[in-house]
Amino acid sequence: MTNQVIEAENLTKIFDEKLVAVNNLSFSVEKRAIYGFLGPNGAGKTTTIRLLLGLIRPTAGDVRIFGERMTPSSSALRMRMGYLPTNPKFPPKMTPITYLDFVGRLFRLGSEERKNRLSELIRAVGLLGDSAREIGGFSTGMLTRLGLAAALMNDPELLVLDEPTSGLDPSGRKSTLELIEELGKEKTIFVSSHILGDIDRVCTSVGVISQGKSIFSGTIKEIKKSIRSHSVRIEVEGEMEKLCTALKGAKWVKGFEKRSDFALDIEFDPSTAMADAVKETLGLVSAQGLDLISVSSSSSSIEDAFVKLLRDEESRGFLRAT
């Protein structure tokens, strides 16, 4: 039996024979993975999600969920899935109780099961005090929490979250990410976002999409490794010029650039091991009597990895065109 929960193969979606929203996209998501689906706005993330859910038909290619082909008629497959859209919309006159009861009925849950499940979820997402209020007056954060509760109503094996932290304040974002991490222990989660910090924090593997095309698929570690560079940024307190003079004569340094009065980007000679180069540089800092504030790899963040991937893809596209 396959361990892949989602398998997208050569997925293509063209709207009105004009707009190529998804272009020959292939990826797979393993069971119990938290898969981050990254891409800038308009990259085709939501279209891909709508294809995964069978809300639209692919122009070419195939989506398989739990090993079965997803189509608009696959209501039995959707029974095993939960979905949170970006900025979820609800009937404004309903209350969280009536809405979740309605969702439970859409999943063909029995009356007793619906009651138990909705009371459990309303408490879990912190809407107990507002459970009898009309949804029309809810804030963005409350709507997202209600959307999450609705996505979990059928206790799905696969959870698809489209920009779940969009529009949330810092505390709402933190609690949502914690909830995703918690849910990831027992469910497979596919989460799309353009907020890279969120993906970095919760995801175990990641796919990057740009202009409808996959430009990376692998683990978070792999994406960072793929853009690893032989450089560091150091921040010091004291006379920076003294350090710059010392670095000019260092044979392990290929070049450096002052970023501010206290920050310096240093590129090491590739023939020197990274660890040795860092050690020697820190020795210089100490020898010049400077106080070290911080040392960081200039390519440690997923933001850098993402931007580099997009830039590489753009230049490849340009080369292909010329």
Binding site: L55, P85, P91
Partner: protein
Amino acid sequence: MGPFWAIVQADLKGLFRSRITYGWLLAAVFIQVIRTLGSHGTGTVSDIVSSGLSDFVYIWALVLIGLSASSVSSESGELADSIMSKSVTRLDYVLAKFASRIAYSLVTFSLVTAVLVGLCLKLEVGSYDAAGLIAAILLVALALVTLTTLGVGLSVAMPSSVTAIVALLVLWYTMTVLFPVAELGLLSPGNLLSLLPGLVKGTFSWDVSETAAAFAAVSVASTALSSAYFYTKDI
């Protein structure tokens, strides 16, 4: 209970809790009471009922056009995604929309017509046949079902609610006013109204059966074609 009934019930609750419904029912009942009281002693049951029923075709059709032609298109996007991403088939969704909007049209029509007929029969005597009266009411109800199915059908096919509403307005009033001139009276609500006074008095004609059959056929065709289209389209 399956998703179909869940959507029907949720849709009906939303419709009956709306201010439009309260306002419409109050206005319609008020007008029927005024009409009946105003005609007391001078009108006949057949005239008053026929005139009251024609309000639905000419005036209250506007409300039904607005509500039916926005039924599916107004939910496209996140709201439809929220429903269709659950264990719901395309047919569950679209047939539930047809069922709820038809039920809404018939319930509101029945309430207003009950007031009209009840008051009329209490105040006036004679000049009607019970079977004819029921047939006249059913014939207008059938016209409203046709209007509703055309509305939901256009709401499935058109890209926005505004376009669907405009298309249905043009279609309905063209059917009402121009079809009789173009010798398509069988499909004209205006022509249907001309049959009512005789029908209330108990005069059944072949025209009545033909008109009923034509409206029923349009309703079935509209439901079938738009359901088939909704099944294949991207939402």
